[in-house]
Structure formats: C-alpha cells, structure tokens
C-alpha cells in the first residue's frame, strides 16, 4: 500500500548516506583576500551586494546573507594610543556551520530544509515558501530570506549549500578550492577534527595561548546544536568573532514553553466552567 502510494506520488528514496563532509576554517592562516567570497559568488551565481562601505572597519561585507554565503570578518584590535606591537588584525571567513542539530532545519515547516547524504544542511529552492521562520531560529544569524521582489530567487531562504552540486561530483567546494593559504580546508569531518587538534597543539606550543577550537564535539558550544560540521580555529574568545558561547537550539525549551501556554489555557477553561456552572 505504501509502495503503491510512493509510485503514485513519485516519491524517491533518498540517496545512500556518505561520509560526513565539512569545513575546517583555520583563522590563523586567513589573510583576508576574500577569494572565498568571490569564488562562492561565482560558482553559485550570487549577485554582487554593491560597493557600500561600512565606515568603521575594513570589513565591508558586513554580514552573511541571502546572497553572501561566505563572509570574511575583519576584526581590528587596537586600543587608543597603543603601540604597533599591541595592535592585531584578526580575519575569519565565516560560513554556515552545518550544525549536527540544525535549528533552521527543525524550524522549517515545509521540509524544504533537509539533511543531505553528506550530513550537510540544504535548502530545496523548489519547496521553500519563504515563511522566514528559519531566519530567527538560527543561533548564528546565517540563513536569510531573499527580498520578496528582488531579482535573485525572490522570497525564499538561502545559505551555504556546502556546494552540494560539486560534492555530488566529488569536487571540493568553491571557497576551499580558491583559498590560497589553506585557511579553509574541506574534507571528511572526523579527519578534519583530528587535523584541527594537531594544529591547535602546534599553535599553543608556538605561544598562541588564546587559540581555541570552536565547534568540536567536546566543546561547550556543541551542548545544544551538536558538533559543527563547519568549525573553526580561533585566535581569541568566540565573542570576539561574534560567535555565541552556547548556541541555543529552540527545541530544547519548547516543551516548557508549550507547558506554560497550556497551563494558562486550562486555567481559563476551569475558571470559565466555575463562573457559568450551575446556572442552567
């Protein structure tokens, strides 16, 4: 019966799972060239965002968005009247984290957001109806809805696909392919995690005491959203890079929220029954 239904509705079975793929972005190697941003835009045919200047930083990209799936953050760390030696310029190529427990995927009411055979999170453009709920659900502010009357895929949600089309053909995603310093490394998540641990130990030994990994299974940031399949080596605390200490997964507190709501509703019904009772 189910088989007949599937034949009737053209339901295809999902492709068999592959090894989880992801990014290890080592910010200690980033030189801020933005080749990743450009390669991403070219491959995914994303329109330019114009030449607006933020005016307070060399970071003129600003944020990730519907048409910006890689964002090279420039973080100027300079105190007033400080010497050259005290100043520091941090760079970090931000991207969708492809969380193990993705808030956007759980929020999606249409099933447009899916987990692919590569364990990445992907928006099916032909399913998304632009409800926009994934946008405030994401704890990193990654996913975004394209303007309703714009030129580019109007009205639906967009974010990094981890170059799903390239992955299908065993190719490296565009950003990692174009990165000239191997700051963005692509591969099997487990292997990348091992590589990241070695790199951290190496940097610590060289005196980068504040360096830390963000998005590893053992990190506290994985408490709710799980390990990030695009994870980072940072040179300062996560807040410096605008990353949350513990990214929240809305599902964790949802039952409690429904519970309070139901309690108010039931309380009202009981009071109503008492108010009207026995006046037949």
């Amino acid at each position: 019966m189910i088989d007949a239904y599937k034949r009737l509705m053209n339901v295809e079975s999902p492709p068999p799972p592959k090894r989880a793929r992801g990014f290890f972005t080592d910010t200690s190697l980033c030189i801020g060239c933005k080749a990743c941003e450009v390669a991403c835009k070219q491959w995914n045919q994303l329109p330019a965002d114009g030449f607006a200047m933020t005016g307070n930083s060399y970071d003129n990209t600003g944020t990730l968005g519907a048409t910006t799936w890689r964002h090279v953050q420039f973080i100027e760390q300079a105190k007033a009247n400080s010497s050259r030696q005290d100043q520091r310029w941090l760079m970090m190529s931000d991207v969708c984290k492809h969380c193990a427990n993705a808030a956007c995927l759980e929020a999606c009411p249409t099933g447009a957001l899916i987990r692919t055979e590569f364990d990445t999170v992907y928006v099916q453009q032909d399913i998304c109806n632009g409800c926009g709920f994934c946008v405030p659900a994401c704890p990193f502010g990654v996913i975004d809805r394209a303007p309703k009357h714009g030129q580019f895929e109007a009205g639906t949600a967009h974010k990094c696909t981890l170059c799903y089309d390239r992955l299908k053909d065993d190719m490296t995603p565009a950003c990692a392919k174009s990165c000239p310093t191997a700051s963005i490394q692509f591969g099997d998540v487990e292997e990348l995690q091992e590589r990241a641990r070695h790199r951290l130990a190496e940097l610590k030994a060289r005196g980068e005491t504040k360096a830390e990994l963000y998005g590893m299974p053992e990190g506290k940031e994985a408490t709710e959203v799980g390990p990030l399949h695009a994870f980072f080596l940072l040179l300062d605390r996560p807040h410096t890079y605008n990353l949350p200490d513990i990214p929240r997964l809305p599902r964790q507190t949802m039952a409690q929220r429904y519970g309070w709501s139901a309690a108010v509703g039931v309380g009202f019904a009981l009071i109503g029954a008492l108010v009207f009772r026995g006046r037949r």
């Binding site: 409800c131 659900a137 994401c138 929240r248 507190t253 929220r257 709501s261 108010v264 029954a273 006046r279």
Partner: protein, 296 residues
C-alpha cells in the same frame, strides 16, 4: 522580513480562539440566557478567522506556495503546527457558527439542513482544543527562535494565550452588551474577562522579570508607549477597573461600561502583539542581549 501581517494575524487568530472557547464554556456550563447571549461569539470567531489565512499567506516570501506547509505534518515546527491548527480550526468554527445560524432560522434551505447535522458538542470540544492551540502557538513560535526579547523568558506562549483569551472573552462581552444581554450573564462574562486580564498581568510580570535587561527594547525603546500605555494600561489595567466599576450596576450603565472595557481589552491585545513583535526586531540587533541568551 515579517511585517504587520504577522501581529495582525496573531491578534485576530487569538481573538477568534478566545471567543470560541468563551462561547463554548457558556454553552457547556451556563444557563439558557448565557447560551443565547454568547452564541454571537461563534459568529465573531468565524468572522475573525476570515482574514487570518490571507494574512498568513501574504507574509510568505512565496505566497503561491502556502500549501507546502501542509505537505508534511511536523509538530516540532511551531510554524507547521500553526498552519495545520488554523486549517483545522477554521472549518470547525464555521460549522459551529452555521449550526447556530440554522438553529435561529437565519440559515435556511439545503445549507441550513446541512448545518443542522453538525454535532455541536463535538464541534465545541474539538474547536476548544484546536482554538487553545491556535491561541498559544503564536507566542511559542516567536519564542522558539534566537531573538533575545522573545526567547529569554519561557512565558511568551503563556502571555499570548492569556491575551488571546482576554480579547476573545472581551469580544463576546462586547456583542452581548451591544445586544442588551441580561445583567447576570454580563456579570459572569465580566468575571471571566477580568480573570483573563488579571492572568495576563501576572504572566506579563513573570515574563518581564525573566527577561530582565533583555526586555529593554520593549520597555524603554520606541515601543515603550504602545507597550505600557496601550497593552498594559489601556489593555489590561483599565478594563479590570471598568469591570469592577460595573460590578454593582445594572441595565444600560452595566452594558455601556462592559462594552467600553471590552473594547479596551481588544485594542490592548493588538498593542501587545504589535509592540512585542516589532521590539523583537530591535532586540535582534542587541549584541549584548544575544550573548546573554547564549551564555552558559
């Protein structure tokens, strides 16, 4: 993204649900007078539901794909649950209203005959369950995000529920007062509406306490006036006082005071949804509040 259609829909959907539940409580437990005076609540519920689906659809990035919400059933997503709830509650509310219209002779012919077949008690029970879901899910939906103002406290769902029930019972009171309902019924409706308003104030106090500094975009920002004066003052405190004032009165004085109080509650309910919804956008830009939400 997310414009005025959203709070308007939350307000109307909540009021429809509240009116349906109030009328059903009166029909389940009240006197013949209570039933007669509150049956208009079923008409109000159906009327308030008419613009709900269009508002919900208009806010989508791709309105032509609204039905994609219904291609799966995924209660984990409040957005999906809400779409299904609205889809289920709307026909029930219309059927119950039609059944009343057939009973009073307003709806005749084959449609009237069809409407007489509606099992009213079952429609009331199922409608109350779906209505309460519709009234409460909107707050949970906003709270199931990472917007600090919406997500920090656990009580936004409860707050929207209380506000929906207050405005819904107020809508029933308003039509009962306008149609000159018996004093005893108006007193009972006022008691119920006051209980909802008092509950709303209590839940709101809890919400603001739990939110702490995170609530600043609502309590101090550009939405302070609509929130404090509109939602709290005119929407909850004033109706409580007016209903108290009306407590010892009868006839026309009671009807007028009840009507004014109910109008205030209904307007305040819109002010509450709108100010919390809009202030959430300011809250999303508040980096320290975001870090507070994610601090462990």
């Amino acid at each position: 993204m997310w414009t005025w259609e959203v709070p308007a829909y939350f307000w109307l959907g909540g009021m429809a649900a509240g009116a349906y539940v109030t009328a059903s409580l009166a029909h389940g437990f009240g006197s013949a007078d209570d039933r007669r005076a509150t049956a208009g609540g079923y008409y109000l519920a159906a009327a308030a539901l008419v613009p709900c689906a269009p508002l919900l659809i208009a806010d989508l990035g791709r309105p032509d794909r609204f039905h994609h919400m219904l291609r799966i059933f995924k209660p984990l997503s409040p957005m999906n649950l809400g779409a299904w709830t609205l889809t289920g509650f709307t026909p029930i509310a219309f059927a119950r209203a039609a059944s009343h219209a057939a009973g009073t002779g307003l709806l005749r012919g084959p449609l009237g005959a069809l409407a007489r077949l509606v099992p009213t008690r079952l429609a009331e029970l199922a409608g109350c369950a779906l209505g309460l879901t519709l009234a409460g899910y909107s707050g949970v939906l906003l709270a199931a995000t990472n917007i600090p103002l919406w997500a920090k406290s656990k009580l936004l769902g409860g707050l929207f529920m209380a506000s929906a029930l207050a405005s819904g019972s107020a809508a029933v009171t308003l039509q009962a007062a306008r149609r000159g309902a018996p004093d005893a019924t108006l007193h009972r409706l006022a008691a119920l509406e006051s209980a909802a308003s008092a509950g709303e104030i209590a839940v709101l106090a809890g919400y603001l306490t739990q939110s702490g500094r995170t609530a600043r975009p609502l309590t101090r920002g550009r939405f302070a006036a609509p929130f404090w004066l509109g939602a709290v003052g005119a929407g909850a405190v004033l109706p409580l006082l007016l209903h108290r004032l009306a407590g010892g009165r009868r006839g026309r004085a009671l009807q007028s005071l009840s009507a004014v109080a109910s109008l205030c509650t209904i307007a305040g309910s819109l002010a509450l949804r709108w100010s919390i919804f809009e202030a959430g956008k300011d809250s999303s830009e508040d980096q320290s509040a975001s870090f507070e939400l994610s601090s462990g």
